[in-house]
Amino acid sequence: MTSPKHVLIVGGGHNGLVCAAYLAKGGHKVTVLEAADQVGGAAVTSELGEGFAVPACAHLLYQLDPKLMRDLQLEKHGLALAAADLDTVVLSQSARPLKIAGSVVVGGDVTDADKAALPEFDRQMSEFAQVLWGFLAKKPPRLANSSWSDKLTLLEWGLSVRRMGRDSMREFLRVVGMNMYDMLEERFESNLLKGAKALDAVLGTHLGPRSPNSVLTYLYRHAVRSGGRHGAVGVPKGGMGSVGTALAKSAESFGASIRTGALVRRILLTDAGVSGVELDGGEVIPAEIVVSNADPKTTFLELVGAANLEVEFVRRIDNIRMRGNAAKLNLTLDGLPSFQGLERHDLAGRLLIAPSVPYVERAFDHAKYGEYSEAPAMEIVLPSMHDATLAPSGKHVLSAIVQYAPYRLKEGWDEGRAPFTTRVIDTLANFAPDIEDRIVATQMLTPADIEREFRITGGHWHHGELALDQFLMLRPVPGAAQYAAPVNRLYLCGAGSHPGGGIMGVAGRLAAAEVLAGRT
């Protein structure tokens, strides 16, 4: 770095905060501008009625970058896990529920062959996920006009695949672009087990288990190794919001300042590049560098403006596929619902409604035609089982990700939200008949709501579909894949950039490294 510069970060989501912390640590004068009244983006805890706190959007932690946790001393700043490695329970109406703890599976329709196959499957997926992590944790190299460090990255990537050995490499390259359905059919018999793995592959995406590259999204979800296992699912103490809070504290400890309630309307430009931002209300804040944590469409089409960019770049940005297909249900309950076949301690796990792969695929079929699923698939957690502060004594909160809820619903979400909510609660009641009597308050966030509340175009978690054509050097688009935008001193740090989203924070870290390298 040459000299300290005034840097504005547009958006205080987790990636924005990560980027702010690294930049402040690197000596820049950093201000984070967050539109909402708390930072954290999709990793926030919000009130839902007196005494209840729900994870407003993301509800589990499984991808947070271990390097940034160390670098930014997140534990010192208050991030702790209430539960580190949740068991998975696959609900069933016809059989006993299936329970998966690590690579041990019991109950349901599981066969001895499946029990024997699962550890090997998990081992192999972990090996593949570890290789994938090597791809995710680095700045994607340019292929043409590449720098030495780009060439080195390509070499490292190539070697990391080569070093797997012939058989593993062959298998990795065979499955990585494949669909989850085919891979599961090759290995397992149990419908519940396959359903669970299939749902893990497609959560938060616009993919069905039979869609190409759903193996990649499965590996992606398992990319980070924590607590000795790839893809271990945790619940933070104090709710998901404590991720944002810890990041904010860390950033502030390095000298960054954070302004909430500051909605950026425009990124201001001169001939030479960015000059600052204009807030809603007209306040102008000058800056030498602007880093946008907003998604690429918001950043370029709204904040910068298509007219200030060149045509092919705008066309690529406009064509990014980012229509969300997952809804978020939050319930507050006046007591624990009784799920058929489950003990109380089972409710501390991750409950899945994915009784078979065809069930998940059929749920997806509707979404292709602009309909919500007749029988939705779900990932359910009860965070209050781990953290008593989230609900009054004896009461609970339930959070579920519901697939599928297409962003462009045929009848529109204003009309569709209520019947969809009923459909989702009816589906839950198939497995927990008393749930309706327990509900105190219901909150349903459709992709349209997520778009509005979290300012993510299309309401897509990952700020852009995770697919091979929007991956690595194609993310968000060629011409902005190394975090620098085609506007001098404007950078991207959000999940729309490599390596994408989930609560991972790598995009923020890599973007900060690019800014600190200061090539523009």
């Binding site: 007219a307 200030n308 060149e310 045509v311 705008v314």
Partner: protein, 396 residues
């Protein structure tokens, strides 16, 4: 054009076809952007001499035309084109090029400022897709009006006199790149002082239903002024003399090139004067700024070549040792009495005054022979008569 049987018509006839067909003695036609147009009517050289000595009429209806309207029409065009469009007043026309993000020329054309927020963009290639892509974020409407506007070029020294006789008042006062509207047969005739010949000349734009009437009146008015129709071959001769480049001949549209290094930037086509880097943004600006720093790869040169063998497709050498480029257009110029050519050469060769060599292949009764000829780089155009720009237009 929306009827379902449109596919049955592979090639259209222009609204002038009944008239052009009657005069096309050679029956030599070709397909220009899905329209039937004449290569030549009776004799290429005579048609060419009409351009230089009297008046010649060219059917340019197939020229792709777009109407661009709306409150953002100006900012849209200013971001599309490399030129500064804010200076183009209503009633004026400008030659222009546009580039992709890499600063490579997609096409060249003319932009007509018809009235406030109403423009016509004429292009060589189909551009609707690119224009629509460019319209994202702008409040503009883009409509391709190629089929809705018939066009004739009237070029040559007597063209102004012909139009005066046609009754177009004060037509001689029209400056180069001006446009004006005149009543015609109950409709409106638009006339612009533009053309592709480097001579005094006009282009006439009219509703297709009045096209035949316009042709008839024009030939009636030009009877004593030596008016004749001209085909594409004659026009091509005139434009090479004028030093005008043609898309698809002297450069390829960037969207049609596949191999690296086959497209050209405006600087590499001698069109740097059309690029205004002072504008805050236009498509290609970032790449062209970089090119200014690093230097262009190619240069377009006008060559005067020894001898009389047209240098079509000839290789250009620097002192016979190193091939540095090729000829893209060449001819024997009857007016300049010179063997002229346009060529693209590698930088840094081809500065005005440089002496190069052309390796010319020619064929005499199926025997191919190779000749070496000195080629000197000409500054300016080959042919640029005072009458081209004189206002009021001269009366011949």
């Amino acid at each position: 054009m929306n009827d379902q049987d449109h596919y049955k018509t592979a090639v259209f006839k222009t609204p002038f076809h009944s008239r052009t067909a009657a005069r096309c003695q050679t029956n030599e036609w070709h397909r220009w952007k899905d329209y039937t147009v004449a290569d030549r009517y009776f004799d290429t050289e005579l048609e060419y001499f009409a351009i230089r000595n009297s008046a010649a009429v060219f059917d340019l209806t197939p020229m792709t035309k777009h109407r661009i309207t709306g409150p953002d029409a100006l900012p849209f065009l200013d971001r599309l084109l490399t030129r500064d469009l804010t200076k183009l007043r209503p009633g004026r026309v400008a030659y222009c090029v546009w580039c992709d993000d890499a600063g490579q020329v997609i096409d060249d054309g003319t932009v007509f400022h018809l009235q406030e927020n109403v423009y016509r963009l004429c292009s060589q290639e189909r551009q609707l897709d690119w224009l629509h892509a460019s319209a994202l974020g702008f409040d503009v409407e883009i409509y391709e009006e190629t089929h809705d506007v018939a066009g004739l070029a009237l070029q040559g020294p007597t063209s102004c006199a012909v139009l005066k006789r046609l009754g177009l008042e004060d037509i001689e006062l029209l400056k180069p790149f001006d446009l004006a509207h005149f009543p015609f047969e109950g409709g409106e005739l638009m006339v612009s002082r533009t053309g592709f010949t480097g001579d005094l000349g006009y282009e006439l734009w009219i509703d297709p239903t009045r096209a035949e009437a316009l042709w008839d009146s024009l030939f009636e008015a030009g009877r004593l002024h030596g008016i004749t129709p001209m085909g594409t071959h004659a026009l091509d001769m005139a434009r090479i003399e004028a030093g005008f480049i043609q898309c698809g001949v002297d450069f390829l549209p960037a969207h049609q090139t596949v191999r690296p290094g086959r497209s050209r930037s405006p600087y590499e086509l001698g069109l740097g004067w059309l690029v205004n880097l002072q504008k805050p943004n236009f498509t290609g600006r970032r790449a062209l700024l970089r090119e200014r720093e690093r230097g262009a790869r190619f240069r377009l040169v006008r060559l005067n070549i020894e001898g009389n063998k047209p240098a079509n497709d000839a290789f250009i050498y620097n002192w016979r040792r190193k091939a540095i480029g090729t000829v893209t257009s060449a001819m024997w110029s009857p007016t300049c009495k010179a063997n002229i050519a346009l060529a693209s050469v590698e930088m840094p060769y081809g500065k005005p005054g440089d002496r190069l060599w052309a390796e010319i292949y020619y064929n005499r009764e199926l025997k191919w022979t190779r000749a070496w000829a000195r080629a000197s780089v000409v500054k300016g155009t080959f042919f640029n008569p005072p009458r081209r720009n004189a206002t009021p237009a001269l009366d011949f």
